[in-house]
Symmetry: C2
Subunit: 320 residues, 2 copies
Amino acid sequence: MENVCVVGIDIGGQTSKIGVVDRNGEILARKVIRSDVYGSDFRAYVTSLSAAVDEVVGEAGAKGRVTGIGVGAPNANHYTGQICQAPNLEWAAGRCVDFASMLSSAQGGLPVSITNDANAAAMGERRYGVAAGMDDFIMITLGTGVGSGIVIGGRLVYGHDGMAGELGHVCVVRDGGRSCGCGKHGCLETYCSATGVARTAREWLAADDTPSLLRNYDTLDSRAVYEAAKQGDPLALRIFEYTGTILGRAMADFAAFSSPEAFVLFGGLARAGEFLYEPVRTAMEDNLLPVWKGKIKILFSKLKESDAAILGASALAWED
Amino acid sequence: MENVCVVGIDIGGQTSKIGVVDRNGEILARKVIRSDVYGSDFRAYVTSLSAAVDEVVGEAGAKGRVTGIGVGAPNANHYTGQICQAPNLEWAAGRCVDFASMLSSAQGGLPVSITNDANAAAMGERRYGVAAGMDDFIMITLGTGVGSGIVIGGRLVYGHDGMAGELGHVCVVRDGGRSCGCGKHGCLETYCSATGVARTAREWLAADDTPSLLRNYDTLDSRAVYEAAKQGDPLALRIFEYTGTILGRAMADFAAFSSPEAFVLFGGLARAGEFLYEPVRTAMEDNLLPVWKGKIKILFSKLKESDAAILGASALAWED
């Protein structure tokens, strides 16, 4: 069929973004609905979502040309099509909902493929972004948390149960590591997420009286650290060096697992690439096995932040 | 074709083991030749090896029924068919040799598939051993070093360059870790190999005067620690607990990567399973994300040590 399209849906705690995407990664039409106004009524959410899909497909003039729907959502299981125990989605909190089959039914049997947002992001980079044509790479999303999508031999790694690729919860500080939302300690996410960077800033500012521009900020978030670093603030620069070093060391270990062609970094914190790149690169190279030194690329996503989630989700629909 | 067979070859620094294997994992005939009497003359080695293959195939009565040859060898690259920079194989030290194509030519064009021994071991377990039918598992070989073979979606992970699966060189002690033969520090292999166990024993015995049966051994190797542990020696038992704890923690991190159904442990040290299992299991469970707790099997290989290497190599030949 000529001119076929897919629908990409990115489900977050507050909103769900829907887009119709063509083969070139052009978003032909888009719409945002709330995710959080349905309480625990999952059926009502799916009904609204399906109506929004109809609407946006109509707007794109793509009726009859949509071949599938790809969805990125927290705690989404690719194998079962379920979303399970997602604390930020009230209709999927403390239980599993049959997301893929319900949406597929509501859409007249259209295939629906779901996975978590980091996996979706990886497929988006492979189809439309800096990982174009790569069969072996690791996507690391540096946002509120740290997510990952691992591509091996051209395929996303889902593992035995559909939940593989949780590199944000690999332990990077074994003794006395920071407590993580997952219940463990020392997880990569507690150091190398936007939240982790803010935590480092708060810890270091509290530790002594080193002068820093950061002391002038009311809200001490990763954005503040980035702004201070841009102004040359030594403490802020050290925070990025510390963060990048931890991330680069972890990446060297990840490389020993799957020997990727590249790492692709994405997300709020990746915008601080100018300060992260050098320490990440140095720490990774210092800790790689000789066979891989100088051979693994570190890339930053170039997809527009506002488009990336929809494109990533849509890429799933092309795969299946 | 009925009754087809394959040839499995396990190449070590001193000897090369050759076997003819049928679909049931029966080794119909076998032979061992030296690997180390050819100096740097790679051609001479391949000539001898090929003659030995002819001989063992004849002995098995399998002439005309062999469909392929699988080879496990150090530093073997599955993609290129080369063995490169293998310090223990003089004919492949400091250079790359076109192993697969040379042997294939010598064998009249029979397909030859090569990989490193840990990868081969993984495929052996999947075809003939405790990982039968598993599509997602991680093999960890605990011998002189620590090797690994990772199976995802039913396929060995080779990575971008054919060299993936070096979990023995993941860093488990970041600061002040033991120096490793690879040039890095704190590698899993420096703690959880047979050599690592002996190193722990030597370090601990030197650290203080704790009485231990181990002080009676002239050769302080992992075998001595195993024997002392069997006699209830507290220090020897603590050494296995320490070793198992480091391994179990690392396995929890590996699980976050590929969410395997099982880990399969193999090799000299795995024979001490009775002392390793509990600490490995406890440390892994303590460090797994909640979603995987209680769900990942820890298995010990049951293949006869003398057969495992040939069976593993032969399994490769069935795959391709």
